[in-house]
Amino acid sequence: MIAGLKVLTPGLQTTVQDLGRIGHQAIGVPVSGALDGFSLRLANALAGNPQGAAALEILLSGPTFEIVADSARVALVGTGANLSIRDMQPRMIPAGQSTMLRRGEVFEVGVGAQSACCYLAVEGGIAVPLVLGSASTYVRARLGGLHGRPLQKEDVVPLAMARASERRETRMPVPLPATREQPIRVVLGPQQEYFMPEAVTALLSAEFLVSREADRMGIRLEGPPLRHCGGWDIISDAIATGSIQVPGSGQPIVLLADHQTTGGYPKIATVVSADLPAIARCRPGDKLRFVAVAAEAAENLCRQAEHRFAELVAAIEPLAEPSAIKHALLFDENLISGVVSGLE
């Protein structure tokens, strides 16, 4: 029998993701992968996996699973998220530590109210075939993941290991530093010259609200309209993840993992890669501010974030007592969901 997680309820949108499908954008294939790659990597590290292993991305409302393997070691990462295990002795396991579950145990993922997304890694990883080198689900073209779509009731998510290894559980010793109040850093361009100077000023001074129109392609923000100085149609060109594209309405859209590889709206700025996880965690109704940095500074931020991440992984420690809960891992930030559709 296949070892897996049986889906009792699928949650709003639960998909298999890894760090993305790299190298195929020239033929129109989006990178996809975890919206918050930082949390996916950390969940994998806690579960004892390579950081880029396939795991489950859970958006806004969590799924419920039954273990249909001898045992499975799982680790959840997400601000304020937790696992509630229904058993003879119901218990709650906070995000930020691994835990072993046995055949027949049922657990529900609680996303919490602080972040739009959380990541559930399973020791050994999720055994779905790679498509163009990645397990990531890209729903629009039905690529990757489990049948190229979000999980549905009755699915069995196949696991690579039928039984958890014999070892101590792990946990994060410290909550992550809070950054929620800090503005999101952007590099201006590549098309800021398509905008009135006041639009750039507004982007960098006004407060923007995360709208309900948000999904894995992008999140639409509400704020003062960012006015173009000429037309808002450009000759279609390539789009980087984090691009802030502004259609005719003047309401910006931050493009995320499943964004189209190319598009025809001017892009006023690009969110630095170090801040993409913070954007991914935004929930509808959250408020955002932006601050500009130079490209060199953005590259340094990326290097610093990677350095801090390595320190965090190095700090993972064995859990003292099997059921002791000393800290909930509290990411400080916010998060995402919805529907931003592209058109051609």
């Binding site: 129109g28 279609s236 060109d237 993840t241 189209q260 590889t261 598009g263 590259e299 051609e344």
Partner: protein
């Protein structure tokens, strides 16, 4: 060669050749793309050629945009850039009945007969400028002047996979069902994108495409052959 380097964050650099969609700029973009792929600079992740610019993705843990700009500039200065090998594809397309829901309207808007629209479209050799929007979606041009129309005022929620479409100076084929605002003047049964193939996207930027009109009976038989992975789209190599 005068180009502009524009930053697209800390992981991508735009090499912009101009602000128009035309063949001369496209050839320059595709030549630089081929040279960069052949001489992969340190830290290169991937490239995306578009109408008038080349996006170069890099790993900021390995390189930086200043270093990359220098590397790209030295490649631009090479006079003997090799042209990429390209292919001419003959794409069967049915311009009849349910396969061509907008043909009558396009004929009306362009003051042509439906037959004239089909003749103009199927007698043009198109250049694949770029792929984007959806996996394998080709932006091809240029349409004969009389066929140039703006996008539909009311985009469709569902455009069927295989739809042959026109808008502005371009023509395209939808590889997947998706929303879309282009005019649908025909359909092809061939599969533009298949991740199981060694080359998942049928066309590459720089390729040439010609549409061959077929009737609905041929459409059905080709569709079956495609389903059985028993159909090969006619193609011939084109010297660079």
């Amino acid at each position: 060669m005068n180009v502009r380097f524009l930053s697209a964050g800390d992981r991508a650099l735009v090499v912009e050749f101009g602000d128009r969609a035309d063949r001369a700029l496209s050839e320059r973009v595709l030549r630089l793309d081929a040279v960069i792929r052949a001489n992969a600079p340190n830290g290169l992740v991937e490239t995306v050629p578009t109408f008038r610019s080349l996006m170069v993705y890099y790993d900021p843990l390995v390189t930086g945009h200043t270093e990359l700009e220098q590397a790209i500039t030295s490649l631009l200065d090479r006079g003997d850039n090799p042209g990429a090998h390209t292919t001419l594809w003959r794409v069967p397309a049915c311009y009849e009945g349910k396969y061509a829901p907008d043909l009558a309207e396009v004929a009306q808007l362009t003051r042509l007969t439906p037959a004239e629209v089909v003749t103009l479209h199927s007698s043009t050799r198109f250049h694949v400028y770029m792929l984007g929007f959806l996996p394998g979606f080709p932006y091809m041009g240029d349409l004969p002047e009389p066929l140039a129309l703006p996008r539909r005022a009311n985009p469709r929620v569902r455009v069927p996979a295989g739809s042959v479409s026109i808008a502005t100076s371009l023509t395209a084929i939808y590889p997947y069902e998706s929303p879309g605002g282009w005019h649908l003047i025909g359909a092809t049964p061939i599969r533009l994108f298949d991740p199981e193939r060694a080359r998942p996207a049928l066309f590459a930027p720089g390729d040439a495409v010609v549409f061959d009109p077929i009737d609905s009976a041929s459409f059905a038989s080709i569709e079956r052959a495609v389903e059985n992975r028993n159909y090969v789209v006619e193609s011939t190599p084109v010297a660079a």
